[in-house]
Amino acid sequence: MIYAENVLICIAVPLVISLLFTKRSTRRFIVSFMTGMIVCLLSAYISGYLAVSTSYSTEEASIFLSPIVEEIMKFLPVLFCFFVFEPSPEDLKPTAVGVGAGFATFENCCFILSSGASHLGYVMIRGLAVGVMHLVTMVAFVMGLRLLKRYKVVSFAGIVGALSMSMTFHGLYNLLVSEPGVSSYIGYALPMLFAVMLYLIGYRPVAGDDEDNL
């Protein structure tokens, strides 16, 4: 058993201190990174509660319910930012990427603390598959929001649609890696393939947008 709250505090304290020495988009990124970590912890609480209170087994809950809970939880801070601060698409990118990266980092930390990091292959899978998957779903979600905004159709249907695509991608990954063999290899490769695809269709991540912040 690990104490996830203690791990969160340990990682978050230097980040909080770093806010004193950063400005604008770097600060925004750090705040969204920490938000991602907090959201990860809350998702674990909710998923755990659902696993106990429904007829799902622990494995079934992690395959079928976790993607729903995790994507909704990741999506809420980004949606809050989207509607309350009305950022430009360029400003929304670092927020979403920060939430996704924070979520993935904290989840990886907890998994590695509970399972050990002696096996390099396992650590690489966690980093390249699960870690990238959380990032990719957020990037895809923001791309969906940007498209909807471009066509001036930001509506309930649009937001649910963008969220459902992220959820289904996450669910598909969890389902594929739940069984050993070829399906799990497809599952592990899926996030990286999707990340490359998103990059190729024109999404340029945060690079270059915060040189003047320190």
């Binding site: 649609g161 969220l163 459902s164 289904t168």
Partner: protein
């Protein structure tokens, strides 16, 4: 994997191929700025449906012949219906705020939801994810009526047929002995109605009739298992290019609304 599931997987893979061939030209047209809002919503809706189909294929291959629990693909299907409804809203020219059609929509989809709950016992998700179908059906009926796509006698016929099918399904539900025997007349009526809608939508190439055919095929998929489910899936696949061509016709009528 049973034969029925195998056929289901093959049909879903075919549907994935059809979906890709529908999404690509729609997305290409969007990039060339030849866009109406219905085509934007249609493209998103088909994207959601594609994800849902991929999930089904993965599930059926990894856990064949087991009932899928509540999973993420339900959200995708719900989002698809919401997107299609949003698209239809943009082309519907019916100023009436309250119409009798909403009563029919509630009654028809409500009865279907009741049947789904009896069959599956999953009442929360059946109600929650069934509600968008009420709105979708309401828009379809208003569109068909406002554009005068079907004569009054045919509209009355389809209402009667819908309630007859529902009545037979409830009879089959309550008399377990008749369950198997009732399946055949229900299937004849359902697929007869689907064939009639298919002919009508091919003739008119109207977006409301094509979408109505798609809606009916989904309802048929939810009502049957095994052979008839696979038949309904095939009808659902046929509906996709029909929807695409009708949407294209609508797009060509008028640029960005």
């Amino acid at each position: 994997m049973s034969d029925s599931t195998l056929i289901g997987v093959i049909l879903t893979i075919v549907q994935v191929a059809v979906l890709v061939s529908v999404i690509l030209p729609t997305a290409r047209a969007m990039l060339r700025a030849k866009t109406t809002l219905i085509s934007v919503f249609f493209c998103f809706a088909m994207g959601c449906y594609l994800f849902s189909d991929l999930y089904w294929v993965a599930y059926d291959c990894l856990r064949p012949d087991t009932r899928m629990p509540f999973a993420v693909n339900e959200f995708s299907e719900c989002a698809m219906i919401l997107f299609l409804s949003a698209g239809l809203e943009k082309v519907l020219k019916d100023e009436r705020k309250i119409a009798w059609e909403i009563i029919f929509s509630f009654a028809f989809v409500g009865a279907n939801i009741a049947l789904w709950i009896f069959w599956s016992g999953e009442w929360v998700q059946d109600i929650l994810f069934g509600i968008p179908y009420v709105y979708f059906l309401w828009l379809l009926i208003r569109g068909i009526k406002s554009r005068d796509l079907l004569p009054k006698i045919e509209r009355a016929g389809i209402v009667l047929l819908s309630f007859l099918i529902l009545a037979l399904e409830f009879v089959a539900l309550y008399s377990e002995k008749m369950d198997k025997t009732m399946n055949i007349p229900i299937a004849i009526l359902t697929f007869g109605g689907l064939a009639w809608l298919l002919i009508r939508s091919i003739k008119t190439k109207d977006v409301f009739l094509a979408f109505a055919f798609f809606f009916s095929s989904i309802m048929a998929m939810y009502s049957f298992a095994d052979l008839f489910y696979n038949l309904a899936t095939a009808a659902n696949t046929v509906a996709l290019p029909l929807m695409y061509f009708s949407m294209k016709k609508e797009r060509d009528k008028d640029d960005l609304r």
